[in-house]
Amino acid sequence: MSVSRFWRKIPQRYNLVGTQCTTCGRYFFPPRSLCPDCRRDGNIIDHRFNGEGTVVTYTVIRSASDQFEHTTPYVLAIVELDEGPRLTTQVACPPEEVKIGMRVKSIFRRIAADGESGTIHYGTKFVPVE
């Protein structure tokens, strides 16, 4: 991922900063600058999510792209944040432990790197809540 494209969304990736449409109240993560319901009538503000949620569905990736090679098997899941939006993320737990409905919370981890000499991409993953 290019330097500027990664940088542009650092607050979103590190701190789950999404958006909210104050006109209809809907929350968005990943962030949206246009509310799909209100469109131009929507007033969008930033919103920082708590980082707590529930696993909606998941898989265990065993064959990955080059960037994630050698990190398999890893758990990929769709997590529904308590505030409503759903996101796609990794869950750092043994594959046998992940379940639909499992409660999870956000943690700061290294997502990928641009080779040995490029930049490191940090971001948010989730872990089971004990």
Partner: protein, 350 residues
């Protein structure tokens, strides 16, 4: 009075046992464990590094006590394993805790005492009223060369201390340091693993500097070991801190809560700081704590600390983040092959 406003620790969940390392290199496990007093060490996950550890430790400190991120005026991260040689870990931490952009930051290196050097810097900036709060972090994913004695103990972990000057949970009454140019342990730029002077790392290294800083502190504040409830020394293994404690006149009981190395290994820049955190986990108001770190190269930072009532108050919630004991419990064990993969010791196709 300047002191510790909050603290947090992060230790990865994986471990490797000393006998498993000995098995690979033909060492005698019992001799090693008896000689070092270390039984297992922590290992980072594939997606953990010094930056992720530093962030989680800082976030743990922020969960235990409300700190306005915009009031954090400085962040210093000390480590021997910063992910970048050029591009500070402290900036990533600042972004991840919402302290940017109105702050200063830098990364420190001073072997295992880089984190405590950060505490001293924050103390100066807070005491002089340059900033309301500063955060000093010591974190490492330490590397020991395969087959070398240091491989038994080089571990991963970190601690963050928020330094402030009002309503602290513990006051730092005094700090002083003892520093010389001593080549006991080093790593040249570009090299994967550190080298060391073998037995030279003992008396001319660790013992000279720890005792130097400790005695300077006794002189400065007019104390001796019996004035303290607890003491924490840098812990590259269990023997060195036990021996220096005895040499200085501290008892086994005084160093016990802070001696985490047998189950954790040496977290390098995190070592003394995690020991201090483990002690604060059990300390009560009025307890007096003596800390002396050590970093090769070489130097020691000593601290004289008194715990306040605030540690038991509603403002500070120790349970909002895991204690060191909780982080040490229920680990997942790896064999040497997975450990080598996690530590990036396997030569991969570039």
């Amino acid at each position: 009075m300047v002191g510790i406003y909050s603290y947090g620790v992060y230790i990865p969940r994986y471990r490797i046992k000393v006998p498993e390392i000995a098995r690979v290199w033909g060492g005698n496990a019992n001799d090693v464990m008896r000689g070092l007093g270390v039984f297992e060490k922590s290992v980072p996950d594939l997606d953990e590094d010094t930056a992720t550890i530093a962030v989680e430790a800082a976030r743990a400190a922020m969960r235990r006590r409300t700190v306005d991120p915009e009031a954090i005026g400085a962040i210093y991260v000390g480590s021997e394993s910063h992910p970048y040689a050029v591009k500070p870990t402290a900036c990533t931490v600042g972004e991840a805790i919402g302290a940017t952009p109105n702050m200063t930051a830098a990364d420190y290196e001073f072997a295992c005492k880089a984190g405590t050097a950060g505490i001293q810097t924050c103390m100066g900036m807070v005491k002089s009223r340059m900033i309301p709060f500063g955060i000093a972090i010591g974190a490492d994913v330490a590397q020991g060369a395969p087959g070398d004695a240091l491989e038994y103990t080089a571990a991963a972990g970190g601690a963050a201390f928020v330094i402030g000057d009002e309503n602290t949970i513990a006051e730092i009454n005094e700090t002083c340091s003892f520093t010389t140019d001593t080549p006991d342990f080093w790593r040249r730029e570009g090299q994967n693993y550190p080298r060391h002077g073998g037995r030279f790392t003992g008396d001319p290294g660790y013992f000279k500097h720890v005792q130097g800083a400790a005695r300077l502190m006794f002189e400065k504040v007019g104390t001796d070991p019996k004035d303290y409830d607890y003491a924490i020394f840098h812990q590259p293994n269990a023997k060195f801190p036990q021996r220096v404690a005895k040499m200085l006149g501290f008892t086994e009981e005084q160093i016990r809560p802070g001696l985490v190395v047998p189950r954790l290994g040496n977290t390098y820049s995190g070592a003394s700081m995690i020991g201090l955190a483990a002690t604060l986990d059990v300390a009560k108001p009025g307890d007096r704590i003596f800390v002396t770190s050590f970093g090769s190269g070489a130097g020691s930072d000593a601290f004289d600390i008194t715990v306040n009532d605030t540690i038991d108050s509603a403002e500070f919630d120790r349970t909002a983040a895991p204690t060191v004991e909780k982080l040490l419990a229920n680990p997942t064990y790896l064999d040497y092959a997975l450990y080598a993969k996690h530590k990036g010791k396997i030569v991969m196709q570039k």
